[in-house]
Symmetry: C3
Subunit: 315 residues, 3 copies
């Protein structure tokens, strides 16, 4: 390598490290690490193995010895979860404080135990989600197919786990988990949302469910649905404010619909048609459809013609 | 670990295994495994290497010895495919039956041979898809770029393979394959759809093509297009019924358009504008555009003003 | 294996290799390889480690020794980048020419040096993107969360790197890089687009930003936004023509909006409402919203009713 090259390199190193100093928030040194994404994904995979035993591994399981299998998995999950939770608690809450390790250890233990205790309930809820998916999708062959390959189940499963960590105010991990699901499926459910049983997301790409959404039981959602906020111009001033809608029981929301605003309530048993754009509450038992989306038809001679078309649809 | 911890653990194991017993469908033990997703992805990668030799590996290939390369790859694909097909056939069809292994073996052989035989045809079709992509996308530099990096080609390639397995009634594998493509690209093509030559999907995120779609030759589809069903309220009762549209030759469908219903036919040479929402048939040679999507303009003094705008567009 | 099987295999090998000969563009043998996607992803990962030191690795970094860390990373990036650039330059430009390796080597060196020199500027821009994301998203807890897990930052970071390669006319690599980001996030930014500082993409799934877009500073974009071309019927004839819009400073574009056409300019400080479909220029300081998207409400007795609804919204 030439002398010129060496000088260029030195120059570059100086400029880059100068940038670090100017914006210390963008570097994470002289400190612990934030979290280990690889281990977090391992935790999620092991939790899926626990919830759906025998589906995601190549070894066969026998019902007589299933207790050992479950115990083993739990120990492994517990160990990893403990390490990651301790890591983020320290990074977010204690990094500039002198605290004894035993205090941090105790706090981590408590959170870990709470999460493990919630697993049977999570498992029960996910079971209802699989059932709702089977009942709602004519293309589904059986529930094994849904468990094994449906992105909606994958995303909702991870959301349900992340939500428990969110409720316990664990920093970073809930978002890392739901963004992993978002990355894999195109379904973006904020861990803060509250979602009831029998939840079914079909296809799912482009679905966005905001942090302060409240969703009841038996709700069906299709691809491209946004449950979002109205203007976010106020940015960080809105942190913690309810800014996403409430969806009551038995509501169906077809593809591409947007429902916006923290005071917007979709009443129970309502059906929201595809591409509807809703910013105010809808009473219960209502079918909403986009009316009069006029289409223009031209034939090959560029002559317009009319056609009776779309007066009322709900997909 | 404390005694309390041990007791909590035991309690947890009991609750989780009790859940398994209550919902046996959600566990897969005392049985064979459903399938091995890792090996299925390997099969798909090897098939892509076969279809586009030299693109997806680091070793150089020489034209004189290409026969050995192809033979080698085929043997490897055949072995893995055989294993996975036998696995899903057993799991879905024979798990509770006493059948001789030789019968299952023979059935698996037949299916495997059919799929391998269809490879030259699949290859030919995918060649036309690459050509259509090059012809249709001004941003494409050459066909190598398309083969190497376009998500539309990736998804259509996997769909064409999965469709052969679907036609032979192989359980689980078609869906696992197309969901792998969905995961990688955001393009969700059900393996049951029938799609002609020269098929071009641009960008692709959010595209949904339903199980009973029929698509002709030379069709172009952009991001966010849904070829879907009307109401799926009847759920599993609709299994096997044609509920998705028919798209004839030379049709272009721009981004965000939805075309819904099993009796909806888009006639040949038609162009469907962006965001159109279509639930009835469109005759051939028709250009459909959304008309009169009124926009409201306010300036900084919140004063409204008019602007001649969008009377006819087709992107 | 039976004789029949052997014959089938031979037949298949012949058909597949015959396809190669008929369409030589679809095979890449007797030549160098196009590029190594695995190494390209490694380059991107190392660049992210350089831009956000300490976030994406498990070892701790110390501020006193950070210069060594940076130098080390730069050497590794430089080596890999050099290999990949040389590879694609040869494949695209020199494969059928007799050139001396020293000429290719020199050209590669120049490009490599240019890219490395641009790193501090890239770093500076990405710092502003993180700031804009924090300011704009009420759900964000802190900037570490954004750096560690937000897909918008991931995609914009890779776009900013790929854009440097695009400006230097490096073949293939820019597209491979942005498609990697597209694959991971559902955000499809063509490396040719020009994008100013403080760029914020929220959620992001389904965003498409075309090759000839020009975007100013302080622009916010939500999921499902298309900055696209009008008709692409002319295909390759449009290669190099400006066919995507210009977005001036301080513009916000809400989810699902489409802005199309190379002569379309959105003036500074304007706000484009969700689902708006825009094909002509909008003056500065304008708020555009979809007006009169009529919705039809039916109650459970299928009786229609009216509701004052959506006369003016901007999410």
């Amino acid at each position: 390598m030439s002398r010129e090259f060496d000088e260029n390199m030195s120059q570059l190193v100086s400029e880059i490290t100068a940038n670090y100093k100017q914006n210390p928030i963008f570097s994470s040194f002289d400190s612990s690490n934030l979290a280990n994404k690889v281990e977090i994904i391992e935790i999620l995979n092991e939790l899926r193995q626990l919830i759906f035993p025998g589906f995601f591994e190549q070894k066969k399981l026998a019902s007589e010895t299933i207790g050992y299998y479950v115990g083993n998995l739990l120990m492994s999950i517990q160990e990893k979860l403990h390490r990651q939770i301790k890591c983020v608690l320290f990074y977010k809450n204690y990094i500039n404080m002198e605290i004894e390790d035993s205090i941090l250890e105790k706090k981590t233990d408590e959170i870990c135990q709470s999460i493990l205790k919630s697993l049977p309930k999570i498992q029960e809820y996910i079971t209802t989600d699989v059932q709702a998916t089977y009942d709602g999708d004519p293309a589904a062959v059986d529930m094994e197919e849904i468990i094994f390959s449906y992105p909606g189940i994958f995303a909702v499963c991870i959301y349900r786990i992340a939500h428990e960590l969110y409720k316990l105010s664990v920093p970073y991990l809930p978002r890392i988990m739901t963004e992993y699901a978002h990355n894999e499926t195109g379904i973006d459910i904020n861990a803060g949302a509250e979602i009831g049983k029998y939840f079914f997301i079909d296809h799912g790409t482009g679905v966005v469910i905001g942090e302060t959404c409240m969703i009841g039981d038996n709700v069906k959602i299709y691809q491209g649905v946004t449950l979002g906020a109205l203007s976010t111009r106020e940015g960080q001033n809105l942190h913690g404010v309810k800014r996403h809608p409430t969806i009551e029981d038995n509501v169906t929301i077809y593809s591409g619909a947007s429902i916006l605003g923290g005071e917007t309530v979709i009443g129970k048993n309502s059906v929201i048609g595809g591409n509807a754009f809703i910013t105010k509450s809808v009473p219960e038992d209502t079918r909403v459809s986009v009316q009069n989306l006029e289409l223009k038809f031209k034939n090959s001679k560029a002559k317009e013609f009319d056609q009776e078309f779309i007066s009322d649809w709900v997909i």
